[in-house]
Each structure stands twice: as structure tokens, then as C-alpha cells.
């Protein structure tokens, strides 16, 4: 599965065994996304807290 990074525009691989809720990162710019849905694939920018 692939996803186009909203930040840098690169297309990066999302592991096939990824789970809903899991955190993945763009392989080019390291921007992080939370998996909202696996099928169809939907990612949303990760909202980070500090703890």
C-alpha cells in the first residue's frame, strides 16, 4: 500500500500488516500519520501530545 505525503509530496510505502490506529511515517520526510482506516487506506496527520 502507498500513501502520498501531504507535507513533501513523496509516495511512501505503508506496511501491509499495519493496523487501524497505528502510527506510520513518511520514508522521505518522516512526517507521521495515524492510520484511520486500512481498507480503504486512510491516514491522518498525527497529533502529538508530550507524554
Amino acid at each position: 500500500m502507498t500513501w502520498t505525503c501531504a507535507e513533501c509530496g513523496a509516495e511512501f510505502q505503508v506496511p501491509e500488516d499495519v493496523e487501524e490506529g497505528e502510527l506510520v511515517a513518511c520514508s522521505e520526510c518522516a512526517m507521521e500519520y495515524e492510520v484511520r482506516s486500512v481498507d480503504p487506506l486512510a491516514l491522518a496527520l498525527f497529533e502529538e501530545d508530550e507524554k
Binding site: 507535507e7 513533501c8 506496511p15 500488516d17 499495519v18 493496523e19 490506529g21 497505528e22 502510527l23 506510520v24 518522516a30 495515524e34 497529533e47 502529538e48 501530545d49 508530550e50 507524554k51
Partner: protein, 325 residues
């Protein structure tokens, strides 16, 4: 046209956020140039702030691109906490160190804090953590950096941290960010035994705490466990720890992996250490549990009912043949 005014507005917003999050903020950012070649110059305190600044710059350039305009926003920004790792006499931005080369503290914790939106967080520094360094001195407090890289404020009333000689770099080694490294078999066993002992003793949980006697939080728990057996230090905060190592799919979580999660109905992050023993959803996970208020061990499946799975990272690998011990 995007422009210097737009950049200045974005920077002002960012600086307000820094000040709210970190309390007395020291970031100083100015814009130079115009139209096609803007430069943001200045200083931020920690790398997290530089990442936020880079994101703002990317957003501004994307907006420029969408409007059919050229130009770029270039950053010439110094991270104060990193500058301290270099020779502090290198230039005019020398970080201020109080006169005394070393000063012993009473063996008590010194609270470090950073004010955040919606509350205050306290994080302790202990003499056993190694020398802290002073990055900045103000009338009421010190900005200090402890050996694992954590930067925080320390009220003057608590006394000076144990100072390094002439701004020496931290005494501990930060965890390698690349591939997981091998840990000898005996060390792995000792790591898991130490985690089980911490759970047996029901060490207390305390948000921001680093001291096993008075309480520690989830990230301090795994940081200390791993530092004791490897000599390497994970970052202090969960949000930084989850960027260390290699991803592991949930069904393949093994002994020594870090399991990251989020609270079920809140946004705060959590981390536990997977132990040896049962596998799959029954694999034991040791963590300083905010919900139960103590260190405990429970099966991965139960851990991930209590918290939402976020990511698993492999930071250790089994020893190669001949490396065991």
C-alpha cells in the same frame, strides 16, 4: 505575495505557542529578505521547536506554490540545547555558566518543569542522573539540560544543579537512532528480571517522576530499565522514544520491544516494555501504569484493552552467535 509580513505573522503565532508550552521561552526569530528569498534567523531552545518551525516554513512555501509564486523560506536557526554540546566559547552566543565549576547538591531531586497549555509538568533531575548543565540563567530560574538531553526549568530556590566543568557534554550516551543493537543474553535476562522486580515491588507511578523511590512515569521507567542494562539512554519523553528503533507489527512483538499506546479517551501517550515468556497477545508487558498508579505486568492483550495500540518499536535485538553472555 507571500511575503515577509505573512512569515512574520506565522512566526509570531509560533512564538506565542512556544511561550505557552515552555513557559519563559528564549526563542528569538527574525525575518530577513523579501519576496523570493526570505531567511528566518535566530535561536530556539530545543529541537522540537525547530521541527515546528520547519513545518511552518513548509506550509508557507506550499501556499506560495499553490498561488503560483516562487521563492523559498530558508532557516538559519540555532538550537540552544545543541549548541551546548559544542564548544561554548566558539562564538558570541556563549552560553552562560555560573562561576563555580562544580557544586555538590544534597541528594534530593531537583524539579525541572516546563509549563504547558492547560497545566504544568514537573520532571525531576537526580544527582544520580549525572551532571546537569545550565543553558540559561534568568532572575528566578535556570534553564538546564540533564544528561539524557531533556531540557527544563529549575527554580533558583531549589539550588543549582550539579554543574559540569566548563560546559562538558552530557556524560551519558544517547540511544542510537538507527538499527536496534544487540544485547548479550545475560543482560537481556537481567533487564527482564529488573522489570519483574519493579512490578513485584509495585513501584509508584508519578507523572513526570524519574525516581523509583518516589514515583516515575512510563517513559522514565523504560528509560531507566534500559539504561541500567545497556548504558545507553532513550530520550526522556514518550513522544521522542517512539522514533527510536525499527517498527514491529503487533503480532510479531517480541521480548525487549517497546509497545507504544494512547489512552483510550485522551490523547496522552504511553509506553511499556515487552518481556520474555508467553508470546502473542499473552506476552507480558511491564509498564508504569498511570491508570493503576504503579508498575505492573500484564498480558499484551490486556495492556491494549487498557490503552489503544499506537506502534511497536524494536530497540534491541538478540545477540548474534558468539555474542551471547
Amino acid at each position: 505575495v507571500t511575503t515577509r509580513a505573512a512569515v512574520e505573522v506565522a512566526l509570531a503565532s509560533l512564538l506565542r505557542d512556544f511561550a505557552a508550552r515552555y513557559g519563559e521561552d528564549l526563542s528569538r526569530l527574525v525575518v530577513d529578505g523579501d519576496g523570493g528569498g526570505l531567511v528566518v534567523r535566530g535561536t530556539v531552545v530545543v529541537r522540537r521547536q525547530l521541527r515546528a518551525l520547519e513545518q511552518v516554513a513548509r506550509e508557507l512555501m506550499a501556499a506560495q506554490g499553490a498561488a503560483g509564486e516562487g521563492g523559498e523560506v530558508r532557516l538559519e536557526v540555532v538550537v540552544l540545547a545543541e549548541l551546548a554540546d559544542e564548544d561554548p566559547r566558539a562564538d558570541g552566543r556563549r552560553l552562560r555558566h555560573p562561576g563555580a565549576a562544580r557544586q555538590d547538591l544534597e541528594p534530593v531531586a531537583v524539579p525541572l518543569w516546563s509549563r504547558r497549555v492547560g497545566g504544568e509538568r514537573v520532571s525531576e533531575w537526580l544527582p544520580s542522573d549525572g551532571p546537569a548543565r545550565v543553558l540559561h540563567e534568568s532572575s528566578e530560574r535556570w534553564l538546564v539540560q540533564v544528561p539524557d538531553g531533556t531540557v527544563g526549568w529549575c527554580e533558583r530556590e531549589h539550588g543549582l544543579p550539579f554543574l559540569p566543568e566548563s560546559g562538558a557534554p552530557p556524560a551519558v550516551r544517547p540511544w542510537p537512532e538507527g538499527r536496534p543493537f544487540a544485547l548479550a543474553t545475560a543482560r537481556r535476562r537481567a533487564l527482564f528480571a529488573a522489570a519483574r522486580e519493579a512490578a513485584r515491588a509495585e513501584l509508584p507511578y508519578r507523572l513526570g517522576g524519574r525516581d523509583p523511590a518516589t514515583g516515575l512515569d512510563c517513559s522514565a521507567f523504560v528509560q531507566r530499565l534500559l539504561a541500567e542494562q545497556t548504558g545507553e539512554w532513550l530520550p526522556r519523553h514518550t513522544s521522542d522514544q517512539l522514533r527510536i528503533g525499527e517498527r514491529v507489527a503487533r503480532p510479531k512483538i517480541g521480548a525487549g520491544d517497546l509497545v507504544f499506546a494512547r489512552a483510550q479517551h485522551k490523547s496522552w501517550l504511553h509506553v511499556g516494555l515487552a518481556l520474555d515468556g508467553e508470546s502473542g497477545e499473552a506476552r507480558p508487558v511491564a509498564h508504569a501504569c498511570r491508570v493503576e498508579g504503579r508498575v505492573l505486568i500484564e498480558p499484551l492483550g490486556r495492556f491494549l484493552e487498557r490503552y489503544r495500540f499506537l506502534r511497536a518499536q524494536r530497540v534491541l535485538r538478540p545477540p548474534e552467535a558468539g555474542e551471547g553472555g
